[in-house]
């Protein structure tokens, strides 16, 4: 059965509200059998809620769900799995200390006559599935010894072994590098060829064009568009997501950073032959006031390690680091902050927000020593400062005392950005500043960065989005395997040139 037959899944008029506020209102989703279906929308558009209803985590308030032609009634993720719906979550939900086989077959192990686990059959079944993915690994080894990408594929293998008819992938590539993404794509294509449908949720629009057949766009809890992917452009998808006009977006450009137009001032810092270990072995890098220097390279090329080294979070094992006006380079984050360096980390949840704390407490965390006298926090001053940043950055919050975990991803990121802007930085290190935030917040964050660059802040920008680097940076230092291998300057950088440089053999 192809796309022309009855859909595998059909969700209509789905409504759901939490504590009185409407999360979904008239959302719909229809996926054909053997189709790869993209689902996109800004943060807070209702994608996660819709998926959680589909997988039995939440119970819907309104609407119908039909799966394989019958009304779907499920009350738990396990029931969803039994019905043929498997989910690969953003945060992997596997057991790293147990073997690959155990992870694939957990809870559904083949049994022998004596009702003990038939390991031979289990290993064989696991190996067969993984070979089908083009993956040849030791299935008896603990899962944790393999890379994130392989773990992700194992999670998919688990779904396949459970005879899933629909596999839901939520941001599957957020922690994969380019090559691993290609492996994932080939697995998705094999699933499709075998008649399994895939619901693919991603912030990366390019990926949708690479593998999806159709795409559904959500906005404000409703489904606003549903197209065959061949008939839409990236720009029109963004327009759907934002609810804005295509022409309007086109004239604004895709990024707000304005690379190549900034006037560089005096030197902020200079690193020569910098090394901190095997993942950062030789880095030459300099940033001037009022310019954006990008770090280009694949995941694992040492970009984040470079940022950590400059911030004093990792001890140097070689090379030299000189900051203008500082006798010695910072040896700890506290010293770096005192020297006017801010570091917006890549992993917002693990290294950025303190979830229990309020917006106010999160925002002033790095500035705190400067806000205290004799150990006592000057509270009036703190409140005034936070109020100023909430207004200036357009942070959407019910108040500065709201716990930060209740904010959307984009607004959390703005608070974290404010945490660093508050220290009046000379240098801002931004590691994936717009990852996982919706398109609207992305433009706003880029505009804020731009504004501070114009005021003379030096920015070191790490981004996996080539577009952001190419259009945003004044210079791009290209890294491979912990070594800086080249330097490009704007104007004149194109995505093509950057990719060539990143892929070049050193």
């Amino acid at each position: 059965m192809g796309a022309s037959g009855a859909p595998l899944l059909s969700m209509r008029g789905i409504g759901k509200s939490f504590a009185g506020s409407m999360a979904l209102d008239g959302a719909s989703l229809s996926i054909g059998a053997g189709q790869v279906h993209g689902l996109i929308g800004q943060n807070g558009a209702g994608k996660s809620t819709l998926i959680k209803i589909l997988t039995g985590v939440y119970v819907r308030d309104a609407g119908d769900v039909e799966f394989e032609g019958r009304a779907l009634r499920i009350g738990s993720p396990r029931e969803a799995q039994a019905a043929g719906i498997s989910t690969i979550y953003q945060e992997l939900t596997l057991v790293p200390l147990r073997s690959v086989t155990e992870n694939v077959t957990l809870g559904y192990e083949p049994r022998t006559r004596f009702n003990t686990i038939d390991w031979r059959a289990a290993h064989a079944r696991t190996r067969t599935i993984l070979t089908g993915f083009g993956l040849d690994i030791d299935v008896r080894a603990p899962l944790g010894e393999h890379s994130t990408a392989i773990q992700q594929l194992v999670a998919i293998a688990r779904a396949v072994s459970l005879q899933a008819r629909l596999v839901i992938m939520d941001e599957p590539t957020s922690s994969l590098d380019e090559r691993e993404v290609q492996v994932l794509f080939s697995v998705v294509k094999r699933l499709k060829a075998a008649g399994t449908s895939v619901l693919y949720v991603s912030h990366f629009l390019d990926e949708l064009f690479a593998i999806c057949d159709r795409v559904t766009v959500m906005r404000d809890g409703s489904t606003v568009a549903d197209h065959p992917i061949a008939r839409v452009s990236k720009l029109s998808l963004i327009a759907d997501m934002l609810g804005r006009d295509i022409d309007e977006i086109e004239s604004d450009g895709m990024t707000e950073l304005g690379g190549g137009t900034n006037d560089a001032g005096e030197l902020v810092f200079e690193a020569t032959d910098l090394a901190t270990g095997p993942r950062l072995s030789r880095l030459d890098l300099a940033v001037h006031a009022g310019e954006i220097v990008g770090l280009g390279g694949l995941l694992g090329s040492g970009r984040t390690e470079a940022a950590r080294a400059v911030f004093g979070a990792d001890a140097l094992t070689g090379g030299s680091l000189r900051f203008t006006g500082q006798r010695t380079p910072p040896a700890t984050p506290a010293q770096a902050i005192a020297a006017g360096i801010g570091f917006l980390t890549e992993d917002r949840k693990a290294e950025g927000i303190v979830p229990h704390m309020s917006v106010r407490e999160n925002l002033t965390l790095a500035l705190l020593p400067a806000l205290t006298r004799g150990g006592l926090i000057r509270r009036t001053e703190e409140r005034e400062l936070v109020e100023r940043f909430i207004t200036a950055l357009g942070i959407k919050t019910s108040g500065m005392d709201q716990p930060i975990r209740e904010l959307s991803g984009g607004n959390q990121q703005k608070v974290l950005l404010a945490r660093w802007l508050a220290i009046h930085p000379k240098l801002l290190i931004l590691d994936e500043p717009t990852r996982g935030v919706d398109v609207g917040a992305k433009f706003e964050i880029q505009a804020i960065i731009r504004e501070h660059v114009e005021r003379g802040v030096g920015v070191l920008l790490i981004s996996s989005e080539f577009e952001e680097l190419v259009e945003g940076a004044d210079h791009i230092v290209v890294m491979q395997d912990g070594v800086s291998v080249g330097r490009l300057s704007n104007p004149g950088i194109t995505e093509e040139r950057l990719v060539r440089e990143i892929a070049s053999v050193a």
């Binding site: 509200s17 009185g20 506020s21 209102d25 506290a334 927000i353 303190v354 965390l365 150990g375």
Partner: protein
Amino acid sequence: MNSASADANHDQGKRSSSRRPSGRLAWRSTLARHGTLIALAALLLVNVLFTPNFLHLQTLFVNISQVATIAIVAIGMTLVIATGGIDLSVGAVMALAGALAPLIFGSELGVAYPLLGLVAAFVLPLAVALACGAFNGVMISVLRVQPIIATLILFISGRGIAQVLTNGNLQTFSNPGFSYLGTGRVLGLPFQGWLALLIAVLAFWVVNRTIHGRHLLAVGGNERAAALSGVPVRRVKIGVYMVCAFLAGIAGLVVVAINSASDAARNGNLMELDAIAAAVVGGALLQGGRAPVFGALLGAVIIQLVKYTLLANGIEDEVALVAKALIIVAAVALQQGRRE
């Protein structure tokens, strides 16, 4: 019905439903938010109705003097739990500090110079307690031992050391100066009650008004984020275990002062459990990030009242333990509800 009016209706429904949640939900959230206070009120009511002589001043004094030690230790425990840790050694530290004090003011030098002996009997045991806390803190933050294992070391050995120091004997003494800590009255109420209150106010102030408190909560809420924001994580952790042990030391001295005797085998026995229970009942989250100091005080009062209620009504100790367990279960259940 045309679509515009449908939208309007729909909007109205949205607004009114967001204004007030349904009755049952409201009731549940009230219970979750004020569960501790409601439990306290219920306990008081039961006692007034059933416990003989509950409304006598003597009952109040007994309960205050008992609750003070639990509260003092529970406040320290709450701070430790706020960093995502736990301190099992508080009972042992109580025994150690309590065993040292009579040895000091009872020594030849202490008898020859009573004032010096008295001062030393406060200062030295508390210094030893601080050292115990520093040991715990270094084990946990520098050597990265799990808190439950690290504090287990002193949990086992601390009481042993105390018993060795006293040859396992009960030491009785008569020293009115020292005993004031346990038997003195200020404005008609037991001194240690005031002491516990003072410590609570001080701890609340530190947590909510100073950079140290903010750092404490940041470390408990997200250690990696705190470290990258310049928070001195190690110093915070060592400090909090030192404060906890210091407070346990004070509680140990209070117990000895109440009894005019030091029994290293019983002083602070099972106190770690009472303190953890009081902290949890008071709203502390075991994964860290929250430090409800007055909650701990309230939790201690509830734990004490349950003990007293059962005791005064002639119910055996063993049953009292089960009742305590039920309270913890109820507190945790309420916390789960709160998280939703």
